[in-house]
């Protein structure tokens, strides 16, 4: 009986160790933020998505995002409806994803507090159109939370987002996307 208990503990310990070794590199959150901002002289349009799923692998540098279009919140309800209905067609194209690589992952020490930067590049998919994007990402490690911030711009017309002539002046062709996510070690 005693032998079995010891053995069980030993196995459990081994398993935990094994678990740590294998998944120790994965950092995750389901509450990442993506903001977009369109500035024109007529109107500023902004929306936030606080339910972005994202994760990165601290050993390989793989980084991924998935955002539901319906989760973008606008200050005006009507804008949100038009965003979903007219521009993003979110019933048809429910999510936007990014799959890429943190190029200099070796420099990002997720276990040591500090601020690190690395180029992040990969494939961004919006409305089933996939394009290469790259930007500089800032990784701030503080008490085992890794915060990632990045900003880049996209042209909506490159992603099959039609802008009617009547509102052409109200929507920028350089929409600023800001990513901000607090990753936790995935246990």
């Amino acid at each position: 009986m005693k032998k079995t208990t010891i053995l069980t503990f030993a196995i459990l310990g081994l398993m935990l160790g094994a678990f740590k070794n294998h998944s120790g590199g994965i950092y995750k959150t389901n509450t990442g933020n993506i903001n977009f901002f369109s500035h024109t002289s007529i109107e500023d349009i902004t929306a936030d998505n606080h339910k972005v799923k994202t994760a990165f692998d601290a050993s390989s540098g793989k980084i991924q995002f998935s955002a539901l279009i319906k989760d973008f919140e606008f200050p005006k309800a009507l804008m949100q409806e038009h965003f979903n209905e007219n521009y993003m067609e979110s019933t048809k194209f429910s999510k936007s994803t990014f799959s890429g690589i943190i190029e200099n992952i070796a420099a990002v020490k997720t276990t040591v507090d500090g601020v690190y930067t690395s180029k992040v590049s990969g494939k961004l998919t919006i409305k089933d159109v996939t394009k290469e994007v790259s930007t500089m990402g800032t990784f701030t490690v503080k008490s085992s939370v890794v915060n990632t911030k990045a900003t880049f711009t996209i042209n909506p017309e490159n992603y099959n987002i039609e802008i009617p002539k009547t509102v052409s002046g109200k929507i920028s062709r350089e929409i600023k996307i800001t990513v901000d996510a607090d990753y936790h070690h995935d246990h």
Binding site: L7, F56, K76
Partner: protein
């Protein structure tokens, strides 16, 4: 024992294998979410009558509606544009689901007000609800001079009510259908043999033509032997054109009445006689 250890290891390692082979992200299917249908109609009117749509909290939807004279008036009347009835008013969102509205129409110089509450939202996923439903109660007060000043006229004679249950389903991205059982109550009717309560049912259909334009059809059927011989049901066909902040509703109808009691129970012109009117509603949403 060895077997047991083996099982332990297999069980312990399996999620890791899973995490490595599949995406880094959590399985989106793991937690089913409720997807609510939105934009069942472009605006809170189908054509004449209300749709299940409500304006959002703290938003004011300013509405101007016109119904012109008969198109059959020809060029002399500029196809009816020489005559017009109109309503000016608006809907306000106390909450996303509770709306109130007021308006003033040229027809009988009527002031109207309503309370509308959306109590069911069509959804799929974790919560499955097949329809969106709302209740709306209108009250109207005619302020034009009494036509029979010798009769004993009371203020209550000026008042009428309309209660409606609005039930709609967005069948596809383009097609929505609404049924609207309706009760119109008039405190005063023209003669003793006429009913004070009139039952009707509205049917509304909208088909999206593009993302920003829709074709709408609306018919209110009044149950038989309730209305005078010369009254008829209202049938309307129109287009919604949404431009961002505005929705333009352009339509043809046989009613000149811009509020429920008037178009459901007071319509005299018949489509079959060619007595068709052009009309429009312009809606502009303001945020507070």
């Amino acid at each position: 024992m060895v077997k047991r250890i083996l099982i332990f290891f297999i069980v312990a390692y399996s999620p890791i294998v899973y995490a490595q082979n599949l995406d880094l992200l959590d399985d989106p299917e793991a937690a089913p979410v409720t997807e609510y249908a939105f934009a069942t109609f472009k605006t809170n009117r189908v054509v004449n009558g209300h749709s299940v749509e409500t304006v959002a909290k703290r938003e004011f939807d300013f509405k101007i509606s016109h119904r012109f004279g008969f198109v059959s008036g020809g060029f002399y009347d500029l196809f009816g544009l020489d005559q017009a009835t109109m309503r000016i008013g608006g809907d306000y969102g106390i909450t996303d689901n509770l709306n109130v509205g007021i308006g003033r129409s040229t027809v009988d110089k009527t002031y109207d007000g309503f309370v509308k509450y959306k109590f069911l939202k069509q959804s799929t996923g974790a919560k499955n609800i097949p329809v969106t439903a709302a209740w709306i109660s209108h009250m109207g007060i005619a302020t034009s001079k009494f036509t029979q000043p010798n009769r004993e006229n009371q203020f209550s004679h000026r008042v009428h009510y309309t209660h409606q249950l609005l039930v709609a389903r967005k069948f596809t991205e383009g097609l929505s259908v609404q049924l609207s059982p309706t009760l119109v109550h008039k405190n005063l009717v023209d003669s003793a043999n006429l009913k004070n309560d009139i039952l009707a049912v509205g049917i509304g259909v909208r088909q999206k033509l593009t993302n920003r334009t829709t074709l709408n059809l609306e018919y209110y059927y009044t149950l038989p032997s309730q209305l005078e011989e010369n009254k008829t049901d209202v049938l309307s066909v129109g287009f919604d054109i949404e431009t961002g902040g505005h929705v333009f509703q352009l339509f043809f109808t046989n009613s000149s009445g811009p509020f429920e009691k008037s178009f459901i129970t007071d319509t005299k012109a018949k489509w079959l006689d060619g007595d068709i009117r052009f009309g429009f509603n312009i809606a502009r949403v303001f945020n507070f």
